[in-house]
Symmetry: C2
Subunit: 189 residues, 2 copies
């Protein structure tokens, strides 16, 4: 995997290209807040790598390092993104911070489970909606990633994106490895 990780001058901010690695399971490191873009988390199993989570702008990833010192999952950029080191204010922050993170994790769980229900087209729309919430124009992740997250195959994702784009449900701009989805038809669910 080509890794293009560039470090910003201030705050330790980093930028990742689509597909770039943020960290690998088992490595030492700290938590990050996602400023923009989206990150996929994967569980490394002897039998292969398994999609295990998704983080979008505003989310914190790698919080488990505060407990274990090491990352539980591997993290890769689904779309170009920027991140900043995140650390829990030791005592200043009350329980509220943690409760919010727990509540957010539970809601995110429901969202991700929903990405594996329904027909192919519906799953992909739900994923893009999740990634796009809070920003106009989502960079389309690699088909391989969309497939892993929705539990479809690349072939099916390719066909579905093409047809969604053809019938106007999706407005896909750009070509080949640099595509953006401008607008997702907003009928719910």
């Amino acid at each position: 995997m080509k890794v293009n990780k560039s470090h910003g001058l201030e705050h330790g901010t980093v930028s990742l290209d689509r597909g770039a690695s943020l960290y690998l399971a088992g490595e030492k490191g700290h938590a990050w807040r996602v400023l923009s873009g989206s990150i996929r988390l994967d569980q490394e199993e002897p039998t292969g790598t398994q999609f295990a989570g998704l983080a979008v702008a505003g989310d914190v990833v790698g919080a488990e390092t505060l407990l274990f010192g090491r990352y539980t999952f591997s993290a890769h950029a689904l779309s170009p993104c920027s991140l900043r080191p995140w650390m829990a204010a030791p005592e200043t922050a009350g329980n509220g911070i943690w409760l919010q993170m727990i509540a957010a994790a539970e809601r995110r769980m429901a969202d991700l489970l929903a990405l594996r229900c329904g027909k192919a087209a519906e799953r992909i729309r739900k994923l893009l909606a999740l990634m796009g919430s809070g920003g106009r124009g989502v960079a389309l992740p690699r088909l391989r990633d969309i497939a892993d997250i929705t539990d479809l195959t690349v072939e099916t994702v390719s066909r579905t994106v093409t047809s969604l784009s053809a019938d106007g449900t999706l407005d896909v701009q750009g070509s080949y490895r640099v595509r953006k989805v401008r607008e997702v038809m907003k009928e719910a669910l």
Copy 2:
């Protein structure tokens, strides 16, 4: 839904029959720790009810009430279970408690996503393994619940359980609505 919720004399412990409701989304209430059995959480949507989470022995459900006062999801018993009110020790417990809950939630997320990958037989075995960890002999949940969790249909679940039981992969005891899975062949994944 028949609700059989019986209250223990001490500690506010409650016992639930398979299928019984612990609480509904939107109600006021407090958090619970699952002592035994397993609980499914559902998101109530205008379009219907959507599986949103699973709690087994040792887990805490309804922690979001500490933040919002009300439950975000509805909770029903998958198998007979007992619970005890749970409250965060205000200051005595440090951040450790919260971090552990967050780490647990993330691992659980990966587990639940895995229940929606692979063939029907594999999904069902993974679910029973998840429910059975830490106790010999799992009560088989209603097929409807298994179907919702694994994103299969009741018909497929029925056929699959029958065939897994026939070929010895699953040792199912009892009949009709009171079946226990004694042993799950433990080849991994």
